[in-house]
Symmetry: C2
Subunit: 189 residues, 2 copies
């Protein structure tokens, strides 16, 4: 809803923010199957009609929540030390998987991706964007003379180990385990 | 329900099997959030009361379905060649993630594990059992003189890469990519 000046009404901006925050909390707590417009409206303290007026149905609200989770790894410091970049990217992911909204929402996102082709496409696209940074750092490491095997497989193994610990075990990968993981997967003996 | 001979009535055995098959299909298709006793009863072609008489509520039925998924990797041929054992275990997992009931149910299981502490404990226990075989093969490889880094991290990286490809990308790891993954993570240069 644009005001006469062509800018969005600040009340609309604020209610959009509240709705998205509530959608993330709902997704984390109830999962994709339990996610409902009613639940989000109650959490956000707005009427259902407010959510519809923002242009959302259930699915587009899940998608909008997923978009706000699509935080890219921090930019690296120029990449003079590609091995340090690899460790930083993996440590950043490990830290996110220990505690973050992204980690809290991950099982719901995986379940939603399984049920809806549109969410699946979003989820795969964001995962590919995050993975690219890691693959690029591994390729730079390779170019600097380090023999690393297949960079794509190494990136999947590094990121995969972090997700595995979050999803399949009671203990997410600790930051002090990242160095050992990187040394193992990069074949440093 | 035991008969007078102390054996379970074959009709009860058959209806238990049909209910469990239906529960797996329901879990795969609807997810943990959409899973219902009604849905399972309809799929199995039995009355709700039949499911209750088998001793199940919604949660115990999800748990029973998860138990039937807990298929261990095939026993290895004596372990004379620990590297071949590692490849066989990872290839077996990759093949399961390409197409299996376990793969179809995985997002629902991850979501259920996030919502219910009992399912989480089951899921983590079964994952640990499956991982043990891989860690043991990697340790045997290490004992045979192969320098492999940290066996626990290597196992998490290998299994993690397979789950990563299933959950985060459109293409599960192909069987012909397993050798490259193993060579990369085991640091063979």
């Amino acid at each position: 809803m644009a005001s006469r000046q062509g800018r969005t009404d600040p009340r609309v901006v604020r209610s959009r923010e509240r709705v998205l925050e509530a959608a993330l909390a709902e997704l984390a707590e109830r999962g994709y199957g339990g996610f409902s417009i009613d639940g989000v409206a109650t959490r956000a303290g707005v009427a259902r009609s407010t959510i519809y007026r923002l242009g959302h149905d259930r699915l587009s609200l899940v998608a909008a929540a997923m978009e706000t989770l699509n935080v890219q790894p921090r930019p690296e410091a120029g990449g003079q030390d590609p091995r340090a970049d690899v460790v930083a990217i993996v440590a950043h992911l490990a830290s996110a998987m220990q505690s973050s909204l992204m980690s809290d929402c991950l099982p719901a996102v995986l379940d939603g991706a399984e049920r809806d082709p549109g969410l699946r496409e979003l989820h795969h696209r964001y995962s590919a964007q995050r993975r690219t940074r890691l693959v690029e750092a591994i390729i730079r490491l390779q170019e600097s003379g380090h023999v690393v095997g297949d960079p794509e497989r190494a990136a999947e193994a590094l990121a995969g180990a972090v997700f595995y610990r979050r999803l399949m075990t009671p203990e997410p990968l600790r930051t002090d385990e990242v160095e050992g993981l990187v040394a193992t997967v990069l074949g440093e003996r």
